[in-house]
Amino acid sequence: MVNPQHKAIRSVEMKKIVKHFPGVLAVDEVDFDVQAGEVHALLGENGAGKSTLMKILYGLYSANAGETLINGHPVSIKSPRTAIELGIGMIHQHFMLVPSLTVAENVAMGLRSSRGLLLDIDIVSERVRKLSEIYNLNVDPAVPIWHLSVGEQQRVEILRALYKEASLLILDEPTAVLTPQEVDDLFKILRRMKEDGHSLIFISHKLKEVLAISDRITVLRDGRKVDTIPAETATRASLAQMMVGREVVLRYEYEPVEIEESRLALTGVHANSDRGYAGLIDINLTVHSGEIVGVAGVSGNGQQELAQVIAGLRPTSQGNIYLDGKKIDSCSANQRSLMGLSYIPEERMIEGVIKDFTVAENVVLHGFDQFPFAWKGFFLNLGAIKKTTRQHIIDYEIKTPSTETPVKSLSGGNIQKLVLARELSREPHVLIAAQPTRGVDIGATEYIHRRLLQARKVGVAILLISEDLDEILALSDRIVVIYEGKIVGEVSREEANINEIGLMMAGASQPE
Amino acid sequence: HAEPVEAQDTFRVAVVMPSATNDLAFSQSMYDALVTIQEEMGEDNFEFVFQEGTFVVDDAAIALREWALEGYDLIIAHGSQYGAVLEEIAPDFPDVSFAWGTDSDTFGLDNVFAYEAASDQGGFVNGFLAANLSESGVIGVVGPVEAGDAKLYVDGFVQGVAYVDEELEVNVNYIGSFSDVALATEAAEAHIANDADILTGSAQMVVGAVGVAIEEEGDVLWFGTQANQTELAPEIVVASQVYHWEVILTDMIELIQDGTLGGETYSINLENEGLVIEFNEDFELDEELLAEVDALIEEIIAGDVQTLPEEDMDDGEDDEEMDDEEDTDGADDSDDGEDDDGEDEESS
């Protein structure tokens, strides 16, 4: 059985840490510390250096300068193995799980077995089950990872850290992909761990969460530490200002727009979900020109199915869909997009972009066979493609070294801007925006919001699907709430009440 | 009037061989011989079965044992690689006769015949003819691996050319495979690019080389060995050295029927007409030259002409710089007795 040699971590101090990447000074003389029984949050825009700093602590990167002390003694952490042995656990921004292996196997991997060479999966499973009960994690050790939802996968990550008796746990953007309910559950676990004397480092772009969970907050900007402050003295506005270096507006002026003709209409739409059961039930929905309709709901209640049905990536089993009054049920995704439908998918790395393609190639993923990108529909016009890409890069403030950089080396926020640029530049009649700001820092979020509002102003009909209720409330003209595949309520902007909507999202009945 | 089938009177032969029966080479020569005997003796008196493409020696072993149990009268292991297993199996069936080739070793067993081919003799004759017919003075040879009867043939051929004119250039190319037709083709292309106007070669992959010669439309001639290759290329084949195993097989059959099951070593050669130079009838040859060939064959039979290079005769001019080492290992007198035709035939 695991028997970690490490003593409990009482304190970790990182001093004057420096990390260069080719052409980037990612971390510049940063001091950072965390104590037992404390949650220390790390804040900063995309690319501020948070992940890099934490990867240094976890032994994935080696620092160019600076030192790390544990319980006052200098340590040298050269690989994750050392970190694990010292009692450090990390939940990565991108989960470090092997999809085809079971929960227990993922936990057991890298551990010593009590049976020498042979696996002791039964023993590991048993202990996982116990831990899962203690922390109320509700994870079945025998299920393969790819069966699990993102939230469940994250619980596996936490379980794994607990299993290894990590006394310091680093969580890099753990909430980016969680539903509000899952965030609450996570926080319960984290508080419990804190009480047990664990040290926690928490990274998030969501200020509300940071304020809710942390004891101290450190803000990084461009690789440098801005300050470390106690959470009690911080407000959302002050944090946003520290991060971005200017004031950030998260409330937008609302200008009513003349609602014109219906652009998108769904009547009595039913569709199946991936696992075969009913994903959408009797959806009736209309979006007009110049209107943003927000779809609120806890993730997994049919949002993805809704977006896919409209985009033409999932067949309906009943009902009709109209685009500009024309029935499009039998049109392919391509035909729909030619008719003026744009789609910003939720899974941007899978459905939105091709990771190994360059920025320019991704910009023309839609309409690559149309003028001016193609000549006779067959030969690519590389010059025109480059020109358009440059324009997008300027217009949408996309941070990229060149038009020929593969998108996989851009940050998530910049990839999202690229998708937005591509979809909006086609001057669509209807835009489906699914989780457009997930994992994006506040600066970029604000930018994306402004762009959406601008599109609304010129008459685009926008369906905004988001789990972030603040986002929905800030942008939508109308809000519908989706629960278990059904639309369970609709409210206008004026009558929107966050509590009522929250209740509907949780499945409580519609307000009378 | 149905004739009664009398099993006792039917002579039954089984043979295992390394490549296909239509390879126009080593395996086909045995197959043709058996067909010939069957024609002579009649289907009622002579039957045979075969297993072709047997690359793995243990497979041959299984077949040999199976046939021995089933009471075949003569079981032939056509390929020197089967020697080791035969040595193991034959003693278990003292009443069954086995034959093994090409080699000269009967393992001291009196139920094993050994047989070999003095293919250097026909090679020498082909070389003699080639030297006389070549106008460019360059001759190309395409071989599989430098071993067995292919090596004997090539060595004899080179000697035959030198017998006519030491100055002629013979380029020998062993491509290292019995099955790679594309490479054999390319080897022939290389010879022709180097001005060769006569080509020859041994083993089944030479069809490619023959094709290249055909494309030259009469400017390049071909000499065959093992089987009669005239049908491959009627315009350009001058002659083929053909193996007639039936000559010695008939002897063996007689001995077996008389109760002698082995102990003898046979060799097909020009003398016993197991090796025959078969000319292409459509190819016009000078009467004088033909007469010279006849005389040469007589001289070879009489032993007046050396068809293989002597160990110390080797000079840097030709291509057998390895002969010195090879000839010392295990080979008795002029034949080195190893034969590995079609070894890599059944690899897939």
């Binding site: 199946n272 985009a311 033409g312 990536l313 999932r314 392919s332 995704a333 391509n334 035909q335 729909r336 789609y343 998918p345 899974e347 899978i350 459905e351 972009v353 091709i354 990771k355 190994d356 393609f357 190639e361 023309v364 993923l365 839609h366 690559f368 066979d369 193609a374 067959f378 030969f379 690519l380 | 296909a20 239509n22 126009l24 250039e169 380029n171 190319n173 491509i175 290292g176 495979s177 790679d180 037709v181 594309a182 490479l183 083709t185 390319e186 292309e189 290389a190 010879h191 690019a193 180097n194 089944q204 069809v207 490619g208 023959v210 094709g211 055909i214 494309e215 049908e231 491959l232 840097g316």
Partner: protein
């Protein structure tokens, strides 16, 4: 002198030897770039080789022979596509199935319909007016038959299609992230049907290049593993047409050199020391390793059937 022989004979020879590899591996490049690993190349080559050979033998028409090869390739390509795209079979398995099928069927048909190897008149050398008369280059590059020119022509063509056309963009997208391609309205199935069928035709032409242009004969297992090597060459060239061609040429040059070493020796009138033979493989290895250290764009969805998660 040596120089000359090397350039004219060895290179011309390498060009011929490379021809079937180039056809087959260009086709496989398309197929793999779109995410389909076709291990059945060898089987299709054999069928194409037989079909064209038999047609030429019976009709004497090379054009018909070529058409027969194209038809066979089309058919086999469609079958392969059906199995790997529509049935979503595990690609390694279905490829071996196609290989065994081609191996067995071509040999059986040959035995039944032809019997013994019979020579056919293959494509003749084509002189290209001015080019063939160029001093050295003429002999090396422009003294071949049309199938050889065709093979080498497919290389820039493939590169151009893959990198500069909308079709190429679709192929690469489908091979990288089929989900994204699908979401963009590209039909993953259609693109893969196209590339796999094209791969079939090219494999079949590779076979025909042996049986009616280079060897001008057929026999069972004529290709002797060349199809598998062609697949390996696609990895070697890391899915880039010019690199794949370079690999095929490297491979063929080594073979050609070995064929002609005697000729070269006699031209030099001294024996090339064995040390040369000893070193050749090392040199090739080191060369390939230098190339190998380059990083490349991979079709990440290779071997993965696409399903829209329904």
């Amino acid at each position: 002198m040596l120089d000359e022989i090397f350039r004219t004979t060895v290179l011309a020879s390498a060009i011929r030897l490379a021809t079937p590899y180039i056809f087959a591996s260009m086709g496989e490049t398309f197929s793999q770039r779109s995410g389909v690993l076709n291990l059945g190349v060898e089987g299709i080559m054999l069928l194409g080789a037989f079909a064209s050979y038999y047609t030429v033998l019976e009709t004497g028409s090379l054009v018909l022979g070529l058409l027969a090869a194209i038809g066979t390739g089309l058919l086999m390509g469609l079958v392969t596509a059906f199995v790997s795209v529509t049935l979503k079979a595990e690609q390694g398995i279905s490829g071996i199935g196609i290989y065994l099928f081609g191996l067995g069927l071509s040999e059986m048909l040959f035995k039944r319909l032809v019997g013994t190897p019979t020579h056919v008149k293959g494509f003749p050398k084509v002189d290209i007016p001015v080019l063939t008369d160029l001093p050295v280059l003429g002999e090396v590059l422009f003294n071949h038959n049309i199938m050889i020119y065709l093979a080498f022509l497919t290389v820039p063509l493939s590169a151009c299609i893959l990198n500069r056309t909308t079709l190429g963009l679709q192929i690469r997208a489908v091979g990288q992230t089929p989900e994204a391609a699908d979401a963009m309205g590209i039909s993953v199935a259609r693109v893969r049907y196209f590339t796999v069928t094209l791969g079939g035709v090219m494999s079949s032409l590779a076979g025909a290049s042996l049986s009616i242009a280079l060897v001008n004969f057929f026999q069972g297992n004529l290709t002797a593993g060349q199809g598998f090597i062609a697949v390996a060459l696609v990895y070697f060239g890391a899915w880039r047409p010019y690199w794949v061609m370079a690999g095929a040429m490297l491979f063929s040059t080594v073979n050609a050199l070995q064929l002609q070493i005697k000729t070269i020796e006699s031209a030099l009138s001294f024996d090339i020391p064995d040390e040369f033979a000893v070193m050749a493989p090392y040199v090739v290895t080191i060369l390939t390793l230098i190339i190998a250290s380059q990083r490349v764009e991979q079709p990440t969805a290779l071997t993965k059937p696409f399903e829209r998660g329904e």
